[in-house]
């Protein structure tokens, strides 16, 4: 096929892109996995987790928010960038309470899968062990804030798709946390329903459907079978079809 679309350089590779595509989208379409946690193809880029950071013509940028330009020189993998990316993921692990052996999301979790992909074998930093509540007040949904990585995907899904605004972030810096839209502060007093989009977007194990946690056994789950770098490329291809 004669592809006369504009191109940029991604590490050692020439990538053709459709004008309007971000660097991350173009890379995925060209078959190169870019690690990310807050990106979701159905939502506008958010650029908050910074795991997809690349160097564009020498400047660090989130590849999910930066449009591709013809002739750009984009660095995705270098020792420095890979190390920085790893540190970001390790910070997320140590800022929350992530005990995967007892987490229902284990095996389907993107934080965990990105950790595997980047070769993260420890939190590296001294863990914070914050005290965060678990809210089981909703009849069908469990909210375990110990694992929230503040990606705002549930916030975006609930506001933009469900039109309910059940979730929001509150506070700043290290005190930033997820809150729900009820005077009592309890999930059970919101109008969240299991069919909501907000129920299916959390990349980690915060918003959990009750009574089905272990329907698929550990070891047979999404990222147990294949690394996220392969799954993400297949999913990106599925969306283009």
């Amino acid at each position: 096929m004669n592809d006369d679309r504009p191109r940029f350089t991604l590490d050692d590779q020439e990538v053709a892109f459709t004008p309007g595509q971000t660097i991350l989208e173009a890379a995925l379409a060209a078959g190169t996995y870019v690690p990310t946690l807050c990106h979701h193809p159905e939502f506008a880029p958010h650029g908050s987790c910074k795991v997809c950071t690349v160097r564009v013509n020498g400047r660090t940028q989130s590849s999910c928010t930066t449009p591709a330009h013809p002739g750009d020189v984009v660095e995705l993998h270098s020792e420095e960038l890979d190390d920085l990316r790893k540190s970001l993921v390790q910070l997320l692990f140590t800022e929350g309470n992530h005990f995967c052996p007892s987490c229902e999301q284990s095996g389907n979790c993107q934080l965990q899968a990105v950790g595997y992909e980047l070769g993260v074998v420890s939190g590296h930093f001294n863990p914070l062990f914050p005290t965060r509540p678990v809210d089981a007040s909703h009849p069908d949904v469990l909210l375990d804030l110990n694992r929230c990585i503040l990606c705002e995907l549930c916030v975006r899904a609930s506001a933009q798709v469900d039109r309910k605004s059940v979730f929001a972030l509150s506070g700043r810096g290290i005190t930033k946390h997820l809150v729900v839209n009820a005077e009592s502060g309890r999930l059970g007093d919101t109008d969240l329903a299991v069919e909501d989009k907000a129920m299916s977007v959390c990349p980690v194990g915060v918003i959990l459907r009750k009574r089905r946690g272990f329907r698929v056994p550990i070891g047979e789950r999404k990222y147990d079978r294949r690394p996220i770098s392969e799954v993400a490329l297949d999913e990106a291809e599925g969306e283009r079809r």
């Binding site: 995967c100 052996p101 987490c103 965990q112 950790g115 595997y116 070769g119 074998v121 420890s122 062990f129």
Partner: protein, 183 residues
């Protein structure tokens, strides 16, 4: 093969605030144990019952730090071992025992020994021989330098085998997809 004339690695293993699951997983390398014993000799370990560790090339430590005795043993291991490995989820991030970290230790002891369901005429054990519990459970790298980490609850036998064969060969352990697991 030069390996046959090579000196055997002296290895110590220890279980701190762990459940011995990682040691079971080590034994789970099955018949590869025979091959392993051609390359290593065991110093202090729950498997040898030798209590005090001598100079070692490699230390495998299961479990995190939940009491003062754990910290003392870990420091001794660090002094004795050229390479120290945090083996398993609890050694790496505190694991299951660390889920008490948001609770007050006094409340924990009271609930377990005094007010808990089914406790009659309980008392909080205070024998001077018992090590004092720490206010929080810590991963090993909170206290000493750790050279390599192998997560997993427990790490699979294949992951342990990969780590050991890499270290015996003098390589940095390389664990690909399926061998690095946090659950």
């Amino acid at each position: 093969m030069s390996g046959e004339t090579k000196k055997k690695l002296r290895v110590t293993t220890s279980s701190l605030a762990g459940c011995f699951g990682c040691h079971m997983s080590l034994l789970d390398i099955d018949e590869r144990l025979v091959e392993l014993l051609e390359h290593i000799e065991l110093d202090a370990s729950p498997l040898t019952d030798k209590k005090h560790v001598g100079p070692c090339d490699l230390g495998l430590v299961e479990g995190g730090l939940c009491n003062a005795e754990n910290v003392r043993v870990l420091r001794e291991l660090r002094k004795s071992c050229k390479i120290l490995v945090a083996l398993g989820a609890c050694a790496v991030n505190g694991g299951l025992p660390a889920q008490r970290n948001h609770l007050d230790i006094r409340d924990c002891l009271q609930t377990v020994y005094l007010t808990g369901l089914g406790v009659h005429r309980g008392f909080i054990p205070n024998d001077p021989e018992l090590p004092l519990p720490l206010a929080q459970v810590h991963p090993l790298h909170d206290v000493v330098k750790i050279d390599y980490f192998l997560p997993g609850c427990p790490p699979s036998a294949d992951a342990i085998w990969q780590l050991l064969t890499d270290l015996i060969a003098g390589r940095t352990p390389q664990l690909g997809h399926g061998l690095i697991r946090y659950d």
